[in-house]
């Protein structure tokens, strides 16, 4: 265990002279306004009128974006836990940013699920009054709720002035639980899908594993992107080791993702003519094939992996570029995962069946309203995070 002790700046409010956060704050506000408009539309017209999800594909873009945000948050918490609880100094050097980012992106995720669920208030009431403990969604609420509280405690601890040795011990324990609960939350999210009798593509251990690994990879990628933005693509040398370590996590994560893809797709193909086969084929040469080959494999696997491999994770700018490309690609990964499993119809699309299909698959494309709620999540993340960068001291000072 390292003897590293970190010390955070004494003043909570500290205006960052850098102008780097300002454009992102403005973009965040614009996206929030767009999302706010869509929220009003949903409140006045109802979900069904605004969203493009259907009886056949009940979960669409918003669930995908929810997964994107919350899994990235738990990935960040995992990396933070490595720094706090397990003494990996390189990660604790950016612990403030990790905690703020994980907290804010979790909130962004909650906007998506809050706007997706028809009665979010009722959810909170009946999850307490009559919870169904066999339902994975209950545990999703429990784990992500606890994760939010843990991150809030971490926020308090990293910003607490005049930190004592006891605070650092507390931070270790809290960091460990953030890591642990994060892994449970994300793997349970795989179970939310894996428990659906009708959707064989989601069954098995694959998604729970894949979501945890891709979440940690996303956490590393996002940290590299944000640091590049904040430091104007010229990250200070003192953070080179941290960026290099994050690059290695990301490279290893992508390699594991590719490994899991290989066996998931191959095993799904051999279930022909089952629904898992249909879902896999929807990805390989069906309606999601562009997303899959270009987005999931090209942007989230091949290109960032090549960048990391060729630069040996030493060039921080290249890592930032790899991070951006990965985070764009990861959106397709999440979207495809959610949608592909639902495309096989539950009965043949014959006259009178009520089901419409093209080439044996039902269809879904997000509505403008869903994209605007997607913007709401991004707006909240960009606005809150870069406001924190502008007005809070997110530099983690250290001494040994």
């Amino acid at each position: 265990m390292s003897t590293h002790v970190e010390k955070t700046g004494n003043s909570l409010i500290q205006i960052n002279p850098s102008k780097a956060p300002i454009p992102f704050i403005i973009i965040g506000l614009i996206l929030l306004a767009i999302g706010g408009y869509a929220t009003l539309q949903v409140l006045f017209k109802g979900h069904e009128a605004v969203y493009g999800v259907t009886r056949e594909v009940p979960w669409g873009l918003l669930i995908s974006t929810y997964a994107y945000f919350v899994i990235t948050s738990t990935g960040l918490a995992f990396i933070g836990g490595l720094g706090h609880a397990f003494g990996f100094e390189k990660y604790s050097k950016v612990s403030k940013r990790i905690v703020v980012m994980a907290f804010v992106i979790l909130l962004a995720g909650f906007t998506q699920i809050g706007m997706e669920i028809g009665h979010p208030i009722r959810l909170m009431i009946y999850m307490i009054l009559s919870p169904n403990l066999s339902a994975p969604i209950v545990w999703m609420g429990v784990f992500y709720g606890i994760e939010l509280v843990i991150l809030a405690i971490e926020l308090y601890l990293v910003f607490k002035p005049n930190q004592t040795a006891k605070d650092h011990e507390t931070a270790k324990v809290v960091g460990f639980f953030a890591l642990l609960v994060g892994v449970f939350a994300t793997s349970n999210l795989g179970y939310v899908f894996g428990s659906l009798n009708a959707r064989p593509f989601y069954h098995g251990v694959y998604f729970s594993t894949f979501l945890v690994i891709s979440g940690i990879t996303a956490g590393a990628a996002l940290l590299m992107v944000i640091h590049n933005i904040i430091y104007g693509w010229n990250i200070p040398e003192k953070l080179n080791g941290t960026m290099n370590a994050l690059g290695k996590i990301m490279g290893m994560g992508i390699a594991l993702m590719a490994f899991l893809y290989l066996w998931k797709i191959l095993s799904s193909i051999y279930t022909q003519p089952g629904d898992a086969y249909l879902s896999a084929m929807a990805l390989i040469k069906g309606p999601l094939s562009k997303n899959f080959w270009i987005g999931e494999l090209g942007l989230a696997v091949v290109i960032p992996f090549l960048i990391i491999a060729f630069t040996k994770a030493r060039n921080t700018r290249a890592l930032g570029v790899a991070g951006i490309i990965f985070m764009i690609g990861l959106f397709f990964t999440r979207y495809d995962f959610i949608v592909a499993g639902q495309l096989p119809p539950m009965r043949k699309a014959l006259e009178g069946s009520g089901v419409e299909a093209v080439n044996g698959l039902v269809q879904y494309s997000p509505s403008a309203g869903e994209w605007m709620i997607f913007a709401l999540g991004w707006g909240l993340f960009l606005f809150l995070y870069f406001m924190a960068e502008k007005f809070l001291n997110l530099e983690t000072e250290e001494h040994h």
């Binding site: 109802g46 009886r55 056949e56 009665h119 009722r122 169904n132 969604i137 009708a198 009178g352």
Partner: protein, 185 residues
């Protein structure tokens, strides 16, 4: 203890695809005329044979009221529940519209009811049963495709039909143990 166990036995060879059952269901249960909003349906199966000896079957269907209920097990608030007679019902007031039950149902039997702001599905017309009335789809069918009754009563028509006929159930491989039985003739 309530010992009733309700089921529907269907003789699809009698179906003439008049869709009276779908109309009766819609009227009885105030199912809105909106896209994707229906509790029951009648699928025209593929044409069989060669011209001029063509043959077509129809397959009326609805919620299967599964004994192993995939929709119930994923419902976080227990909005979906089973009555003592095994009828799968939705408590509109508890439904949060997370739609997990819709994605879990292998029969695509559920939909969002825009007026109730909750998930809706076939209830075997549960509200009519205390009056001794059959579900609307059963009552209205001119050729008596559907027979409704208690599987625990050996003298019920459904029990007799299942005793004397071969039958299949939809997607038995999903281990849902459905309560809709289709007679094979």
């Amino acid at each position: 203890m309530n010992e009733k166990r309700y089921a529907i036995v269907l003789d699809t060879k009698k179906c003439i695809n008049c869709k009276a059952c779908t109309v009766a269901c819609r009227a009885e249960n105030h199912v809105p005329h909106e896209e994707g909003a229906y509790r029951i349906w009648v699928t025209a199966l593929e044409l069989q044979g060669k011209f001029p000896d063509l043959h077509q079957d129809y397959e009326p269907s609805q919620c299967q009221h599964c004994q192993n209920t995939p929709c119930e097990s994923v419902c976080p608030t227990r909005a979906t529940y089973k009555s003592p007679e095994g009828v799968v019902l939705v408590d509109y007031d508890k439904c949060i519209l997370c739609k997990a039950c819709m994605t879990a149902c292998p029969y695509n039997a559920r939909f969002v009811h825009e007026h109730h702001k909750a998930i809706d599905k076939c209830t075997f017309c549960y509200h009519r049963l205390p009056e001794g009335r059959e579900p609307a789809c059963v009552e209205t069918c001119p050729t008596k495709v559907r027979v409704f009754g208690d599987l625990n009563d050996p003298n019920s028509q459904v029990s007799k039909l299942l005793d004397t006929n071969r039958y299949y159930r939809l997607k038995e491989d999903r281990n849902t143990n459905p309560r809709l039985y289709y007679i094979i003739k």
